[in-house]
Symmetry: C2
Subunit: 345 residues, 2 copies
């Protein structure tokens, strides 16, 4: 039997935060990063859990993110756009600074947007969507990535995996949340196939010559494909336009030019749109939250699933039983805490 260690969520948070502080991050950066990484572990979403610490530290070490950045809020009174400049730090503390102002603005005006500029982004979008739904608001979140996806009909990486996420608040339970890449698969999944020596399913990728491939090496040298053909390609393009160009931040090809690699966390911006169901539904028949439950019941009632349910089940377990890590994971955390930036190349 493999040795494992179970930590409470608070204890894991303390440990992850200590790693970031040791590596030279300031308090706002370290705290916000620890929250989002621990949320990943808590929800059994390992691809966004402690596995991400190293990448964040590598990006610090490469000088591509400012460890001591203090985000600046431009509350932009009189506008429906709230802006936070991450000042070259991670997106997460910038988001935390902006979200209460976004929520207040969306409640007042019905719809409002939070723009984060000049940030490094490596986390899933669902923690941010859930921060919006926690305010009783519906939220749409999107950002570019690096150029790794060819537009449909094209043959070269141009779009990012550009995640698109949405949430709807459910007063008596976990929110309705989806968060997905606009590519068929995440880049990490192709990497996992490569390590396992397995062929990719058809339709995931093209090789460097633009021909369909199921070979993960050829796919990594070529380009991934958008989900849902030309429709997903159009949504990925929309994300470049809205969450890159419109907000005055980098597009996925510009991110790749800037970093020169996909092994560091990308530097770009992020767009969050929040809407108040109460403001929109005002004066109309029916309670929007109750009506949404009827829709969810109809979905579940015919055997379909609501997105994110696996995460919410894992969360419930973690909240009472803690998070269990393998001996290798614990050693890795110890090593990162001990060596700081020297632990990463």
């Amino acid at each position: 039997m493999t040795q494992t260690t179970t930590l409470s969520i608070a204890a894991l948070h303390e440990r992850v935060e200590a790693i970031f502080l040791k590596a030279g991050l300031n308090g706002v950066q370290a705290g916000a990063l620890a929250r989002v990484i621990v949320a990943g572990e808590r929800d059994a979403c390992k691809s966004h859990g402690i596995y991400r610490i190293e990448g964040a530290l590598r990006t610090v070490k490469a000088g591509k993110v400012k460890a001591d950045a203090v985000p600046e809020l431009d509350s932009n009174e009189g506008s429906a756009i709230v802006k936070v400049n991450a000042k070259g730090g991670f997106a997460n503390p910038a988001f935390e600074l902006g979200v209460p102002v976004l929520a207040e603005r969306a409640r007042k005006l019905g719809i409002a947007a939070l723009v984060i500029n000049d940030c490094t982004h490596f986390s899933a979008l669902w923690p941010e969507v859930e921060a919006v739904t926690n305010e009783g608001l519906a939220g749409l979140v999107m950002c570019p990535s690096y150029a790794t996806v060819a537009p449909t009909g094209g043959n070269k990486p141009l779009l990012g995996t550009n995640p698109f996420a949405f949430g709807w608040p459910r007063p008596n339970g976990s929110p309705y949340v989806f968060d997905f890449a606009t590519s068929v698969a995440a880049r990490g999944e192709i990497e996992l196939h490569r390590r396992a020596g397995k062929q990719l399913p058809e339709g995931w990728a093209i090789d460097a010559e633009g021909n369909p491939t199921t070979d993960p090496e050829a796919a990594l040298a070529g380009a991934m494909l958008p989900f849902g053909g030309h429709k997903g390609s159009a949504i990925g393009t929309m994300i470049e336009l809205l969450a890159g160009i419109m907000i005055g931040d980098l597009t996925s090809p510009e991110v790749l030019d800037y970093l020169g690699t996909t092994t560091l966390a990308p530097f770009h911006g992020e767009l969050i749109i929040a809407m108040s169901p109460e403001a929109f539904a005002k004066g109309r028949p029916g309670d929007p939250f109750a009506r949404a439950e009827t829709l969810f019941e109809a979905i579940v009632g015919q055997g379909a699933r609501l997105p994110s349910q696996r995460r919410f089940v894992a969360r419930k377990t973690s909240e009472t039983a803690g998070v269990t890590l393998t001996a290798a994971e614990m050693e890795q955390l110890d090593r990162l805490l001990d060596k700081g930036l020297d632990a990463v190349s």
Copy 2:
């Protein structure tokens, strides 16, 4: 050689408007409907051209849309939500009434929403997206439909084909516009396969028992499937939430309950979100419109296509050479003008 007739856009508009006036529609309804239907013919988008007149008239005759409705604007000063109640008429005149106010609000606040309530909707969303981009704004448009699509993992119609449309203004040319159903195919395409006695491609539909089918009859009795698997299903659900429930209007299953058929135009609401690239990009480096052109050039430069290009090419031809209709189409227009509502069952 088949006899054809070529009409100028203005002449076709006059003819279509006259049909609606003869059928008892008031001026605002007839004018707005004629504009959107002629736009379909002009762009060689036959599925939303004069073919749609009959369905609109059938819906009038069935008493499911008010021919003499006058939409009412609630400009909702101090809010980012502009509302238009279509008063049981068609969505199009309500949209025309709301869009200048939406544009002014979006320019002032950066982002704003137009809600249309209590409308009958049969047109494509691209004319509305283009009305937003004509104001120099980026636009997102969505609405429910009838319950004809099963959520991924389910086995019964629940979601609509819920169109999702987006536009980005291009100062020196036609805008970037996409407008697509969130089902794999439009319901009309399944109907066309049925009439042609052709099997459907795999993955389009399930039969009444929830099993995959390529038989169009079985598909029409069963359910269509969302595009892009669970991702498209999630987007379709988001549209029910935002453009049905949040705006206090009917969801796709409620529309079907209300109409009892999919042969009439659906009664529901619509959500339009407009964003000002100038307001969002303010204070940031680079001109968003010039940067967008760089992105479009990169897409086209690798052999991929921008959406809607076929429409724009057809539009250019129609604007100089007019619109050519078959003898059968001309007879149909004459018959509709002559008989009014008596021409439809």
